[in-house]
Symmetry: C2
Subunit: 243 residues, 2 copies
Amino acid sequence: MARYHDIAEAVRGAITRGFYERGSQLPSERELSEEFDVAPGTIRQALGELETEGVLASRRGSRRTVVGEPRPAATFEEFRSFAQWASSRGRVPAGHVISGVWQDASPLDREELRLPTAARVFCVVRVRLLDGSAIMVERTRYRDSVGAEVEQISSDCPSVTAWLAATANITFSRAEHQFSACPAGAEDARLLNVRRGSPLLMHKRVSFSRDGLPLEWSVDRYVAGTISLVVDNSLNANALRWA
Amino acid sequence: MARYHDIAEAVRGAITRGFYERGSQLPSERELSEEFDVAPGTIRQALGELETEGVLASRRGSRRTVVGEPRPAATFEEFRSFAQWASSRGRVPAGHVISGVWQDASPLDREELRLPTAARVFCVVRVRLLDGSAIMVERTRYRDSVGAEVEQISSDCPSVTAWLAATANITFSRAEHQFSACPAGAEDARLLNVRRGSPLLMHKRVSFSRDGLPLEWSVDRYVAGTISLVVDNSLNANALRWA
DNA sequence: AAGTGGTCTAGACCACGTT
DNA sequence: ACGTGGTCTAGACCACTTT
């Protein structure tokens, strides 16, 4: 739809097809604006997209440089949702609910979800399978408005995210993630079929609505070696920090 | 220097000071352009910066919404460099080199660093300390041009990154990171003073120059519980993917 | 000196969401 | 119907780098 996005895709495609080689130089923005018959600003917007992806690096005075392979450009949803990620890779996601109960919000819940002093949260423990084997246990706590919807989802629904978007018009637009490592606890070991104390990748996540309201927070634990996380960052765009 | 950046900072500051409350609504872009006496496009660029940070969320028809607390906006360097991160937090970074040797590039080196079939790499093993205790072991492999500089660095230099920038004019402009969990091996256990098999956060990293040339790649292993990684993503800007 | 990217102007039109 | 953000135009000037 947007012209600048089409141009970005066109340039990305030209790089993929080898028309522009790695390390070679793109035409100047003014030349490109004539070639595509758009205003220079539109070209800048297009190239800006590719710069953020790390495909291009710009230099003044000299000419801008083609840097690397274009990335598949993973979407936000693909990352946030286990099922959508798996499907996009041609793997088979599955999952079942171990428990789903309403609890009074703990102080931690109230902080993460910005809840008033008296509030309930819907707590779900799920085990996620990839191609038939358990790789992750997920402990999620939903704020009441979302929990009321989640409660109605059948326990073997492959994608909670997709269900919420389709039937309750609840979508996530931003998330904050924290990663660390931890030893498997007793319940982890039982659910994931690993030994106690074996290494797990821990992923804490808080997901927000478009309005910035925290909708859920979750602690997921992955069996080491099954899955890993990839992040790009650059001088232009950095979404990472240590804590 | 750039007007749009000043405006972004001004709005960020206004949010921090509570002038705009969380969940409240910003003036329209046209109003802001009058207030700051700039063209509308400049305002868009400024607000775009805040949207990517997740501080603002925009909606059409209604008015755009102030979403959350402004983040400290960690810089790329702060994340890439252990020493710079630690210093910025008022903690004491230290490190010493366990070994530093030239080796023939392995097939893996050649792939990660895009080297020709015959090439050397400079391999360094370092232990990093935070406030006096060992928390990370780092195994880095530099391409020869960088290795030649690294070789001259004294073994207790706190920040290799800062040294390279200052004396050899070598700067990193982009990096790709991969995170997973793994058990401590024999050497890890000895260097980090933990038991074999205890969980470590594994961080593989490839760093690139402005021109997209891979300069080094590294596998760092952190003692679980000492440090964790935080990432933001959103529908607008997503730098994460599973692998 | 010439060319480039980075920034900015002062508009325009459209699609969308709310009223 | 109206106001909003999203996109785009057709320029301009400056800072920087290389020639």
